[in-house]
């Protein structure tokens, strides 16, 4: 665990790692390339999820969940897709102690498993559109990893929609990239450039990829979200056709779009400074920290701090009372208590009563409940 934060001017990469570790957002894991998202980091993800999920639902999308494992034969159905993803896939060859008849890919993204399913679900124009989003983990075997920004396993959401016409699919692609732009700018306070990827940078299997690009404090770019127009590529690969109103058979049009826990890395890099983490209020799990400064009657001051906290909470502001001075004293007291209990019972009790009188224990509990 880093204790001091390296200044940005000295080493930007190290500064980023120091911030992430110091703020307890994430930790390294023994599994190569994988990270542990700590409660402080996960709290940011939950805030992001809540805001995005609402925007998805407000535009008619619903959530579902598809399997983690994808049969190799599915992965191979769309030629460009497998070519793009094969080098970074984790593949399961054994299960239950036996070699599998067909290898299973750990999803790097779910187009194939979802389109094999849509092919069963879609028969007629009445079955369209399908507007499904999935919150999930995916695995991409990265060799050079960096906390949040590039990890072998990460969390994300992936939307997969099916449409009767190309125009409708294109409208969806543009709607979703606009939602990502709004989320980045209004929630993350991070300005982005919206645009299209070139042929060589687009998603493997897409006709067109739209993206949002942000600038980090070292002037480097970070791709913060993508929305793909998949054309009829996956529908053709999986034989997904629908009957039009006129009774003709047509291939279905597809889109997919996603953002991941990489956004947490972007958020850290966009706003933090040499003192530590800076979060925009809309994504901070502790928007206000009340620090009681004790002069005179401590109980009075704690009462006032708690009153203020309740007042803020009523307005939807998350306020946290940092009475760490009290906390420290109480801890000292507890340690003493443990030692004393063996030797002198009376001393123990006095010590505890004194702590209780200060009101610290009660108030501390209240404060914690409000922030978890």
């Amino acid at each position: 665990m880093a204790e001091k934060i390296t200044p940005r001017s000295q080493d930007y990469s190290q500064w980023y790692i120091d911030i992430v570790l110091n703020a307890k957002l994430a930790d390294y894991s023994d599994v190569r390339g994988c990270m542990i998202i700590r409660p402080n980091g996960y709290a940011i993800w939950e805030k992001m999820q809540a805001a995005l999920d609402k925007m998805f639902k407000d535009t008619g999308h619903v959530n579902a969940y598809f399997p983690l494992f994808i049969p190799e034969s599915y992965m191979k159905k769309e030629a460009e897709h497998i070519e793009g993803f094969a080098p970074e896939c984790a593949v399961v060859t054994h299960g239950g102690g036996e070699e599998l008849k067909e290898k299973l890919y750990v999803r790097p993204t779910s187009e194939t498993i979802i389109w094999s399913t849509y092919a069963r679900w879609i028969q007629s124009y009445r079955d369209l559109p399908i507007l499904i989003n999935q919150w999930a983990n995916v695995v991409r075997w990265e060799l050079r990893t960096r906390l949040f920004l590039r990890t072998a396993e990460f969390l994300w959401q992936e939307g997969h929609t099916a449409h009767a016409t190309e125009a409708e699919a294109m409208a969806e692609v543009l709607q979703m990239i606009e939602i990502y732009r709004r989320f980045a700018e209004e929630f993350m306070a991070m300005p982005v450039i919206v645009g299209k990827k070139t042929e060589s940078e687009k998603f493997a299997g897409a006709v067109e990829t739209y993206c949002i690009e942000a600038m980090m404090q070292d002037g480097k770019a970070l791709q913060a979200g993508t929305s793909h127009h998949l054309g009829q590529n996956f529908a053709k690969a999986f034989g997904c056709r629908y009957q039009t109103k006129e009774g003709k058979l047509e291939y279905v049009w597809a889109t997919s779009w996603g953002v991941s826990t990489r956004l947490i890395g972007a958020l850290v890099m966009a706003h933090s400074d040499d003192k530590g983490l800076v979060l925009p209020p809309k994504l901070a799990s502790r928007q206000v920290v009340i620090v009681p400064i004790f002069k005179g009657d401590k109980a009075d001051i704690m009462q006032e701090a708690t009153r203020l906290q309740a007042l803020l909470r009523k307005k939807g502001i998350t306020a946290f009372i940092d009475d760490s001075e009290q906390y420290t004293r109480l801890e000292v007291c507890r340690i003493r208590t443990a030692r004393h209990s063996a030797t002198c019972g009376a001393g123990t009790e006095r010590c505890c009563r004194k702590a209780m009188r200060s009101g610290a224990a009660r108030h501390r509990r209240k404060a914690y409940i409000s922030t978890r």
Binding site: R146, L149, R150, E185, A189, M190, P191, I193, V194, G195, K196, K197, T198, E199, S200, E201, Y210, C211, E213, A214, M215, M216, Q217, G219, K220, A221, L222, Q223, G265, A270, H271, V278, P280, P281, K282, Q287, V288, E304, L308, L311, L312, K314, K315, I317
Partner: protein, 123 residues
């Protein structure tokens, strides 16, 4: 009260609807972080005229440059500078600001180019 974004110290009376003052302050902080990040970004986007200028610019920010539209040029630039085409912008405001549709010559090959694109090193 101390703002984390600016370090500014403010004094409020506890009895004067402090919750409303704090709500305003949180909004102002959200806005300030966005404005600050936008000002930084805009200051570090530059249109470049030649490849030398391009190479210097992608070391510190985004470069807006003409590109001949070929994979070969894109790959060569990436190989030589580690910078990639981040996107072909589509927002009206951005297109106008940097006159993205103006014709010109590719920064690398010198061939005719119908559009400018955004280059940068990326995470």
């Amino acid at each position: 009260m101390v703002r984390r974004d600016t370090g500014e110290k403010l004094t409020f009376r506890l009895d004067e609807q402090i919750e409303l003052r704090i709500l305003e302050l949180l909004d102002a902080m959200q806005q300030n972080l966005f404005e600050r990040a936008k000002a930084f970004r805009d200051a570090n986007i530059k249109e470049v005229k030649d490849y030398e200028e391009f190479k210097a610019q992608v070391e510190k920010g985004f470069a807006i440059a003409h590109w001949d539209g070929t994979r070969e040029t894109e790959a060569k630039i990436k190989e030589e500078t580690k910078a990639t085409i981040r996107c072909i912008p589509t927002q009206e405001e951005f297109l106008n600001k940097y006159d993205m549709h103006a014709e010109g010559k590719c920064i690398y090959s010198g061939k005719p180019s119908k559009q400018k694109v955004v280059f940068a090193k990326a995470y």
